[in-house]
Structures are given as C-alpha cells and as structure tokens.
C-alpha cells in the first residue's frame, strides 16, 4: 500500500498555487495521472521520488516512511530507489544503450531481457544521440526498470512512440509490471492511450 498526503506550493504566472494530493494506492495498481499543464503532475512524481521536497506531507510505502515533514524524515532518492522515467528521458550522452543498463544493474540476464522487451537488442553499442526519439524513450523506460523498483514513476513515457510501437510496448510492459508486482504511476496528457494498461486514475488540479 502506498499512502501519499502532500502539499506543495507551486509558482505560477497567476501567483501561487497549491498542489494537494491525498490518496492511497494498492500494491500492483497502475494509475494514470492527468490534469492541466502546470498543475504539478511532474512535481508530484518528483516529490515521491525524493527529488523535490514538499512544504508539508507524509509518504509511506508498505509501512516504511519515505517522508514525514512533521518529524523532518526524508529518505534520499538513493534510498527510495523509485524507478523514474523522465519526460526529457535524461539519458546519459556518454553511455551506450548497454552501458545505461549496466550503470543501473549488474544482472546481465535481466539486461538482455529488458533489451528484448524494448526492441533495442541490436542497438546496444549506440549512444543516445544515434537513437530515434522513440528508441530513446524506450531506453529511458528500460533503465528505470533495470533497478527492479517496487514503485515506478513515469512522466509522459509513451509520447514519442508511434501507434504500433506503443501498443506492442504497452502490452509487454503490462505483463512485466504484473510479473514484477510493480505499482506504477503514469503522468499523461492523453489518458485514453492508457485505457488498456491502467486500473486507476488520479486527476491533479492545482488550487
């Protein structure tokens, strides 16, 4: 069970807004998160990962407290080890496809399996600049999965994929998420594209 109750002040052109989320997610749930631009969807994911601190809040994962502002408890991102797929992919320009995965895990068998799922097995020696947008996005997803996280946070993870690739990858990921027992939070601007994948949703509207 993931329990999140956070409040974060956001800067906006119209002044200050508050991002307030109070929700619980069952283990293994796959949740799509949507809402208007600037509402704080990416900020919400980064707060969970420990990359941004909220003004106030509690985050508990299976009775382990990741964050409790009242006791000034906050685990580092390194200790939370939440898989994170960044909107801009955040791939390392100096590393090849395989080196990205080797940086995340030493499990060679797992790396080979991920490469097959992401259809990147023939591109292992390529650096990100020689990959298409869709291939870069798949690599970002594989890298986040490489650490075998309990919680996966994905920020617009399928936006650069063509329709056919999206369907194939979503199907493969759905099976993989189930196998790994992953809880997944996916930010999207197009909630319909995730209809077959997600079993829950969260609308974020900053106030």
């Amino acid at each position: 069970m993931i329990s999140i109750n956070i409040e974060k002040k956001l800067k906006a052109y119209s002044g200050q807004q508050w991002l307030k989320v109070n929700r619980e997610f069952a283990d293994g749930s796959i949740i799509k998160i949507y809402g208007p631009s600037g509402a704080g969807k990416t900020t919400f994911l980064k707060i969970i990962a420990g990359l941004i601190s909220p003004e106030k809040g509690i985050i508990k994962i299976d009775d382990i407290t990741w964050l409790d502002t009242s006791t000034q408890t906050s685990l580092s991102p390194q200790k939370r080890m939440a898989g994170f797929v960044f909107q801009n992919y955040a791939l390392f320009p100096n590393m090849t496809v395989r080196e990205h995965l080797e940086y995340a895990t030493k499990d060679a068998e797992w790396i080979d399996r991920l490469l097959l799922i992401g259809k990147l097995e023939t591109l292992t020696a390529h650096k990100p600049e020689y990959l298409s947008g869709g291939q870069q996005q798949r690599l970002a997803i594989l890298r986040a999965l490489a650490i075998k996280p309990k919680l996966l946070l994905m920020d617009e993870p399928f936006s650069a994929l063509d329709h056919q690739m999206k369907i194939v990858l979503i199907n493969d990921l759905k099976a993989l998420f189930k196998e790994m027992g992953l809880t997944v939070l996916i930010v999207t601007h197009n909630p319909q594209e995730l209809d077959g994948l997600c079993n829950g949703e969260l609308e974020i509207n900053a106030a």
């Binding site: 898989g83 994170f84 320009p93 100096n94 940086y103 995340a104 650096k127 890298r143």
Partner: protein, 223 residues
C-alpha cells in the same frame, strides 16, 4: 642562449594546471549546485584576480607570506617553507591568479547540464560522488579541456604577480616573461626576441588546439 626560463615556465604552468584541476573540479561542482550568499562571496574572491592589477595581488601575497611576520613567519618557523622568492611561491601565486580561468568553464559547463541527468542517476541509487565521476564529468569534457588549456596558457604569460612574489632569481623564479623584460632592460633584443617567439608559438599552438578540439565537439551530445 639560456633556455632555463622556458623550462621553468613550462614546469610552473604544468604544476599550476594540475593543482587547479584538482582544486576546481570539486569546488566548481559545489558552486554549481544552488546559490547562497556564502557561495557568492567565494565566487567573488575566486574572480577577483580577473579584475585586480596583478601587482596588487602580488604585493599582498608578498606581505602575507613574508618570512618576517604573520603566516609566512609561521610557515617558515614550523615547516621550513618559504613562499617568497621561491618556486613554491610562484606556484601559489599562479594557482590564485589563474583560478578563474579553470573555474569559469568548468562551473559554467556543469550548470548547463540538465539537472535531470544527476536526478536520473540518484534514482538509480548512485551517490553524488559516483554521479559526478560517471555522469557529469564525462559530459563536460570539451569545457574541461578548454579550462586546462586556458589555465596553462594564462600561467605562461604571468608577469606582475610572479615578479612581485618571486623576483628575478636565475634558475629559481626567472620565468620566460621576466626573462623577456630582463633582456630588454639589458638591451639584449636577440634573447628577448627568442623568448618572446617561443612563448608566442606555444600559446598559438595551444589556442589553435582549443579551437580545433571545440570544432570537432561542436555538436553537443545533448542536442
């Protein structure tokens, strides 16, 4: 023709560049992470040699490290180290004087890297140190090279600071720029020309090297 001043200059520039690389890498990384009033003060102190007359810096270093009093006396009495009129003194002055040339390109390159690169590494369980060495540092190589060449070239041309703290002691502190000045004072234009030409050629090759290297690196891997 005595080439010792040229070798002394190259030795000074090499040691200074190496020391500044070791000092500025962690310092630039720390400075590139967020802003605070304390960091602004540190940055201002590091930048001062860019705008301060070299003779002013040299004068204060001469006072500070004079073996007659203060820090200089303590260093001399406790560790038998003397910075004034010695090669160590030239190294110390060069490190301070050339620091902005090493710091600027490194810090600027680190700040221009997307913050998500480091964040992605943290979410993979990597420490800040590991992230710096394996993700950030390899992706600022062109700037690192530029910083090293600029520092080396700038140290080659130092005059005011070096003269103030080191004087003009043959084989010890008489670097090429001082040898040029000394030769002209002694009306030995031939020697002055030789020293000047060698310095000109070394500097020209270094600057051309930076341009060629940066041209081949023109397409940023982040594009």
């Amino acid at each position: 023709m005595d080439l010792t001043p040229i070798w002394l200059t190259l030795r000074l520039a090499s040691i200074t560049t190496l020391l500044l690389l070791l000092i500025c890498l962690p310092l630039a990384w720390w400075l590139s992470k967020g802003r605070s009033f304390f960091k602004i003060i540190i940055e201002a102190i590091i930048t001062m040699p860019l705008v301060l007359p070299p003779s002013v810096l040299g004068f204060y270093l001469l006072l500070a490290f004079s073996p007659a009093h203060g820090v200089g006396k303590w260093l001399h009495d406790s560790f038998d180290v003397q910075f004034v009129f010695s090669f160590q003194g030239l190294v110390l002055a060069s490190v301070i004087y050339s620091m902005p040339f090493m710091m600027g390109p490194i810090k600027s390159a680190l700040q221009q890297l997307p913050s998500s690169l480091a964040q992605a590494s943290y979410t993979l369980g990597k420490t800040e140190r590991e992230t710096f060495l394996r993700v950030l540092l390899p992706n600022i190589q062109p700037s690192l090279f530029t910083a090293m060449v600029l520092t080396f070239a700038h140290t080659l041309g130092e005059f005011g600071v070096v003269l103030m703290i080191g004087g003009n002691i043959p084989n010890v502190t008489r670097v090429a720029s001082i040898a040029v000045y000394d030769s002209v004072e002694n009306m030995d234009y031939s020697a002055a020309n030789t020293y000047s030409l060698i310095l000109f050629c070394i500097t020209f090759v270094l600057v051309i090297g930076v341009f060629i290297f940066n041209k081949t690196q023109a397409k940023s891997p982040l594009e």
